[in-house]
């Protein structure tokens, strides 16, 4: 028993540390459901140089242009807000920032950087798949709609061959609706979560449609050349640094594309 006690103590401590790595309100209360004429997806806020911006996937703003109106699910209803869009220099990066001219969520610490993220580390991605989420306790948090859906995966790969479009690949099961949601990770040194990237979507794979008798045949070909689209389990996201750089460039008035 004497020898066992330190082991039990360490196990208890490890358990205590583990629970602390669940996404905190610093992350949860920054995520919002977004609706535009193009799509309904997810968005979240970050603070850059003391100003709050709403971040989402660029494809959620298809046809939005430089300025327009978006809708946010706040307090149980859709609320319209005028926004000015900021896009990264590379069109490949599926991220956009919206400057609403005012903070719309809490501004609890949440650093937008992938610095310190480990290959293979567990990450969380948050959003509203199929408009699902957890009901909010009462009274509602100001500027907040619904607790987002959390899903998790590990960082499978960093693709930085194109320095203007760094991609994060996660091993996770993404669903429609997560687009524009944050990819967050626990940064042990700072003891806080960080936003590493933005969910773009997931990689599809084509699965052949087979006759029942061919199900156990690995060489069977698609029946009548029919295929179905399946989720490969690979989540694709872009590094948050692209939009932070774009925001800073826009605030300095040095946006190379003049947006």
């Amino acid at each position: 028993m004497k020898r066992l006690s330190p082991v039990l103590l360490l196990l208890w401590l490890a358990g205590s540390v583990a629970w602390a790595e669940v996404p905190t309100t610093n992350v949860l209360y920054r995520v919002l459901r977004l609706r535009t004429p193009a799509a309904t997806g997810s968005a979240f806020t970050i603070d850059v140089d003391g100003r709050q911006y709403l971040i989402t996937a660029r494809h959620n703003l298809k046809g939005f242009g430089a300025e327009g109106t978006i809708e946010l699910w706040i307090g149980g209803r859709w609320t319209s807000a005028a926004a000015r869009a900021i896009y990264p220099a590379s069109r490949l990066v599926d991220i956009a920032a919206l400057d609403l001219g005012r903070p719309v969520t809490v501004a609890y610490p949440l650093e937008p950087t992938s610095a310190g993220l480990l290959l293979g580390q567990q990450v969380y991605f948050l959003g509203y798949p199929y408009a699902l989420g957890s009901p909010l306790f009462s009274p509602p948090v100001p500027g907040f709609g619904e607790i987002p859906f959390l899903k998790s995966g590990i960082v499978s790969a960093f693709d930085n061959r194109n320095p203007e479009a760094n991609i994060l690949y996660l091993d996770g099961q993404n669903n429609p609706g997560f687009s524009g949601g944050p990819i967050v990770f626990w940064h042990a040194e700072s003891g806080r979560f960080r936003v590493a990237g933005v969910v773009r979507g997931y990689r599809n794979e084509a699965l052949p449609v087979l006759k029942k008798r061919d199900l156990s045949d690995p060489d069977a070909t698609a029946h009548n050349d029919l295929y179905t689209r399946a989720n490969s389990g690979i989540v694709i996201g872009y590094d948050i640094s692209h939009i932070v750089d774009a925001i800073r460039a826009a605030s300095r008035g040095t946006d190379p594309l003049g947006r």
């Binding site: 205590s16 306790f137 040194e189 806080r192």
Partner: protein
Amino acid sequence: MQTRSMQQVWRGALAVIALAATAMALYAHFFDATSRQEEARAAALRLEDALVESRSRLKSEILAELRAELAAGGTVAGAAEGPVPDAVLRRPDRDEDASGALRQTMDPTGLGPPLTLGRLAARVGSLAAQMDESDRALRRDLEAFRAATQRELDASSTARSLALVALVALVLHLLTTWRIAG
């Protein structure tokens, strides 16, 4: 002749008194030593118990301290308290809230300095050192007590041996005196 007889009587009486006193002293000493040994054994057991109790108390204090540090007071912010940074959302226990609605629970990592594994390891190391030091101090006390008891027992044993010698000498003296008188 009468004076000589009186002297023998007095000498015999004094010898008998000395014999009786020595025997009684030996008897008393024997039982007293036995009871002292019992007492010492009981005290040693009490010290051992105290050592065990101290260890468990120290451990529980350490655990309580660590729990307090980790839970940062274990504050559970109710819904009425509004949003709280660095909190996690937790479904309450059934006896806390039957509705099962998520509640904010303070995440200790955001309240003080970052709680890293390294920091935890250092804390555990420091607390383990405290426990070792406390153990050593108690063991030192126990050893000192045992040594003192042993010294006392040795002295007592010597005194007992000397009293025995005196008793034997007295008996011989008495026998010799009575034989000469006879």
